[in-house]
């Protein structure tokens, strides 16, 4: 099992969700986050004054998938979230060692 952690543009959440749904992946966690990668923010100007926007608003989608569809899910995320401009985001892939259902205590991985 893999944990896919995707940092994407806020306006791309629906498209990524739809793309994952087409792979029958429906469980996910979506979080509002702020940060920067290579994009490193930019300088905004309001009424003549500059202010540095170093942390940009992004969305983080976390989804756990089986190893067999991990690559397909990663491709779906990348394609749905891409604009081709700096700031499109990243997908991190982490191995999942174990998982438990809290309600039953049952280990399902």
């Amino acid at each position: 099992m893999k944990l896919l952690k995707a940092i994407i543009r806020p306006n791309k959440v629906d498209e990524v969700k739809d793309a994952l749904a087409r792979l029958h992946i429906s469980g996910m966690t979506v979080t509002e986050v702020r940060g920067h990668g290579k994009q490193k923010g930019h300088t905004a100007i309001y009424r003549g004054k500059e202010y540095n926007v170093s942390l940009l608003p992004k969305m983080q989608i976390e989804v756990v998938v089986t190893n067999t569809i991990a690559d397909e899910a990663i491709r779906a995320i990348v394609e749905a979230a891409r604009t081709g401009e700096i700031g499109d985001g990243r997908v991190f892939v982490l191995p999942v060692e174990q998982a438990y259902r809290i309600r039953t205590g049952e280990q399902d991985i």
Binding site: R9, P10, N11, K12, D14, E32, V33, R34, A44, I45, Y46, R47, G48, K49, V53, P57, T83, E85, G87
Partner: protein, 830 residues
């Protein structure tokens, strides 16, 4: 000499009071007879006096006004004249007062001219208090009525009550606050005659029914009668105005009043027991009045510890047009509305129609005024909703009462969600530090009540399940037509309702880094004012969905869309020009009034920034077209109009060097402070400048012909017959400067924002002449000013210029040179 019974035999008249009282007459009736004799004496003296040259009224004040003159009481008089006091009036006063003094009366007199009473003497509360018992004795009844009308108003009554409370406290402190005095002063001591008058005055000034609601009134009347008897006998015994019931007189008076008892000691005890019983009744009645008297806030409206309420609920029930005012009074007093008043409105509101509640334009304007965001607005609107009034005042709101719409986001019924949006706006006012950027925006909005109105109506269409924004607009249109709103204001409210979801969609669901998305949104919004309103509406709306919906993350996204759109509106609008064939222009041409030709409207519009059609309604556009008719070089066509608190100058002319600076300079030379405005130049050289300015010294309002003087001065400057520099020479330094916190000037040049222009943005401390200095400096540097946006937010001027030099954008070196020049200039003048 005067032959009247009183002045001829004052002692006899005084002794008659004692005889009457001891014969079993009541104190009140005996003193009334004595007082009426004094009245008649004054009326005789008034008739015999050398007439004043102007109307005069002789008015009794205080105890004399109440018919409570005791044998040696002072006679307190007000002589009121209908104009200035001259020699004839002084003679009249001598003829009136000298005989009284000669006869041995102590007269406390005050003289006022009618002009002096137009404004109540709030710094003289004792006088206002004495006026509470004013009574006309002789002379001009109209003058007396004028006095009553000027002083018997809620504000004065509130001052009287405050003064009374203070005087009571001071007086009671002199007696250690107890009426159990062994040698009581029957006038001054707690429970004495002054307290009787205080209880009556306080009730009369706040709620006349207060004393009638329990047994206080008859007990107070009995106590007053008893105390007046004592006071009259004390005056006769001491032969002076001494009101202390000392030990030595207690025996004598107990005997005079035939108190029973085997010995003098027993008779005194009976007298004093009687005294304490009456004093206790007075003290209790006064205490109750002090505790419950509403402070007058308006007609039939007072403030109690339970909140603001109608003083006479029965009268209020018959006057539904007064119901709104109790909520406004509560907002003004920063408190709630009393439960009993809310209950009363709840009982009556079902039968009240909109036209009963808000019958006239004034009442409807009062509704708009109430909607200004301020502390308590959410609570008061909730009260109004709870008692059924809000849905009657704003009929579309009725449709969403307790309306449940099930979705994944909303936590409240539609009506409560709507009210919470207003609570969120209120919080921006009350706790500006929570969302400082948005609080500042709200402060900059000219008519925030329009925003609240839009919020109240934005979801009324949710009574149906389809597109609620369109349905809300449909429902709002009919209601807004009933309110005294300008066409522009009405359009703004409808725009906000129609597009209330748009900004959150752009901020949270669209790629705002795409300039085209922002440009499209800016095009929809059209002006900075609407952008601010929509941004605030979005913030308030999102925050009212649930306690967790508005995160810092969303707030940041919203703010960025605001800033990007603001910059787009102020810096990029010059590239977006009106084309002859486009719909908005065609609509303007098609609906033109009969006196305008289609071709001249089309020619006027073509090439102006498209923003122009969003800033001005059609009526304004047609006025501008008329002004542009038959314009020739060196001519300017002007229109000066007064708006609510500012003046607006519209100038149409043909472009020439230094034009903008010269017009600004002329306005500054008259001391006008330019606050907002637009300057636009069309490709064929037609210039349209609109300035809104403040005339703090009221030069235009106070001087006949001042408007013409300003207009002629502008015509002279445009024609080249004089220059603004000539008019201003030596004057700018003498002009009024606005005292304010220092604002560090900012000069920023952007060569990329517009395809055709270099955009210069200047933020500096606003002061008279600033715009002239900047624009003259720009022109002196060889730049042409084609478009200008002028704004003032608080003490800060925010001006955006679109410039060219020799018909092209400025080179980097020219940009650098202009920036340095302007920075130096602003530093030197700051």
């Amino acid at each position: 000499m005067y032959g009247s019974p009183v002045t001829a035999d004052l002692d006899g008249a005084r002794r008659a009071i004692g005889r009457d009282i001891l014969a079993g007459d009541g104190g009140l009736s005996a003193l009334r007879r004595f007082t009426e004799e004094i009245d008649r004496e004054l009326q005789r003296l008034h008739a015999a006096a050398t007439p004043a040259s102007i109307p005069a009224a002789v008015i009794a004040l205080g105890g004399y006004g109440r018919y409570h003159l005791c044998p040696h009481s002072d006679i307190d008089l007000l002589v009121l004249f209908g104009g200035g006091v001259g020699a004839a009036e002084e003679r009249f006063l001598r003829d009136l007062l000298h005989p009284l003094w000669d006869a041995g009366f102590v007269v406390g007199h005050q003289v006022r001219e009618s002009g002096e009473i137009e404004t109540p003497e709030i710094d003289n509360p004792e006088f206002l208090l004495a006026l509470a018992d004013a009574r006309l004795i002789a002379g001009d009844a109209a003058l007396y009525r004028g006095l009553r009308e000027a002083t018997d108003v809620p504000r004065t009554r509130a001052i009287v009550i405050d003064a009374l409370q203070r005087l009571l406290e001071e007086r009671h402190a002199r007696f250690s606050g107890t009426f159990y005095q062994l040698e009581p002063d029957v006038k001054e001591a707690p429970g004495g005659l002054r307290d009787v008058a205080a209880a009556r005055t306080m009730a009369e000034a706040s709620d006349p029914t207060l004393l009638r609601r329990n047994s206080d009134a008859p007990r107070l009347a009995k106590a007053e009668d008893f105390l007046l008897k004592l006071r009259a006998l004390l005056h006769l015994a001491r032969r002076r105005n001494d009101n202390v019931l000392g030990h030595e007189l207690q025996e004598q008076i107990a005997e005079q009043l035939a108190y029973p008892g085997p010995s003098a000691r027993h008779r005194v005890e009976s007298l004093m027991a009687d005294y304490f019983s009456h004093a206790r009744a007075v003290a209790r009645a006064l205490e109750r009045v002090q505790r419950t008297a509403p402070a007058p806030l308006g007609v039939n409206i007072g403030r109690t510890r339970d909140g603001v309420r109608f003083i006479d609920d029965v009268a209020a029930a018959r006057q539904p047009q007064s119901w709104l005012s109790v909520f406004q009074a509560a907002l003004d007093a920063d408190t709630g509305v009393a439960d009993e008043t809310l209950d009363g409105i709840r009982r009556e509101t079902e039968s009240a129609a909109f036209a009963d509640l808000l019958p006239g334009a004034g009442h409807r304007a009062a509704l708009l005024a109430l909607l200004r965001p301020q502390r308590g607005l959410y609570a008061r609107l909730s009260d109004m909703h709870d008692c059924g009034l809000l849905g009657r005042l704003i009929p579309p709101f009725q449709s969403i009462t307790c309306r449940v719409v099930r979705d994944f986001y909303h936590k409240y019924t539609v009506d409560e969600h709507t009210l919470q949006t207003i609570r969120n706006l209120e919080r921006l006012v009350v706790t500006p530090d929570a969302h400082p950027r948005f609080s500042t925006l709200l402060q900059e909005v000219d008519a925030p009540e329009l925003l609240v109105l839009a919020l109240l109506l934005h979801d009324v269409g949710k009574w149906r399940d389809d597109d609620h924004a369109l349905e809300s607009v449909r429902m709002a249109e009919g209601f807004l037509a009933l309110l005294p709103l300008t066409e522009t204001a009405r359009d703004t409210v409808l725009f906000l309702i129609r597009h209330h979801l748009r900004m959150s969609q752009v901020a949270f669901r669209r790629d705002t880094e795409d300039p085209e998305i922002v440009r499209e949104f800016a095009s929809l919004v059209g002006s900075e004012d609407r952008l601010k309103l929509l941004c605030l509406m979005t913030l308030a709306d999102v925050e009212a969905v649930s306690p967790d919906t508005l995160t810092r993350w969303k707030e940041e996204l919203l703010w960025r869309v605001y800033v990007d759109t603001y910059n787009c509106l102020t810096r990029q609008y010059a590239d977006d020009l009106i084309e002859r064939t486009e719909t908005a222009a065609a609509g303007c041409v098609a609906r033109r009034p009969a006196d305008l030709e289609a071709a001249e409207v089309a020619a006027f519009l073509e090439g102006l920034p498209r923003r122009y059609l969003q800033l001005f309604d059609r009526r304004a556009v047609y006025e501008h077209v008329r002004l542009a008719r038959d314009i020739h070089p060196d001519e300017v066509h002007l229109r000066l109009t007064r708006m609510e608190s500012v003046w607006e100058l519209t100038a149409v002319t043909l472009d020439k060097p230094m034009l903008f600076a010269n017009v600004c300079g002329v306005l500054s030379s008259f001391g006008m402070d330019i606050l907002r405005g637009h300057a636009m130049t069309s490709p064929n050289g037609l210039v349209l400048d609109i300035f809104q300015f403040a005339d703090a010294e009221r030069f235009l309002a106070l001087n006949p012909g001042a408007s013409d003087a300003v207009l002629h001065a502008i015509e002279d400057v445009v024609a080249g017959r004089s220059t603004a520099a000539d008019r201003l020479r030596g004057r700018l330094s003498g002009l009024r400067r606005r005292p304010a916190a220092r604002v560090a000037p900012v000069v920023r040049i952007d060569g990329d924002a517009s395809k055709k222009y270099t955009v210069l943005e200047i933020v500096a401390l606003d002061e008279i002449g600033l715009l002239y200095r900047i624009s003259r400096g720009i022109s002196e540097q060889g730049c042409e000013i084609d478009l200008v946006l002028i704004a003032t937010e608080g003490h800060t001027a925010i001006d955006v210029f679109h410039l060219t030099r020799r018909g092209a954008k400025l080179t980097p070196a020219e940009q650098q040179g202009l920036t340095a020049f302007l920075e130096q200039m602003l530093e030197d003048t700051a």
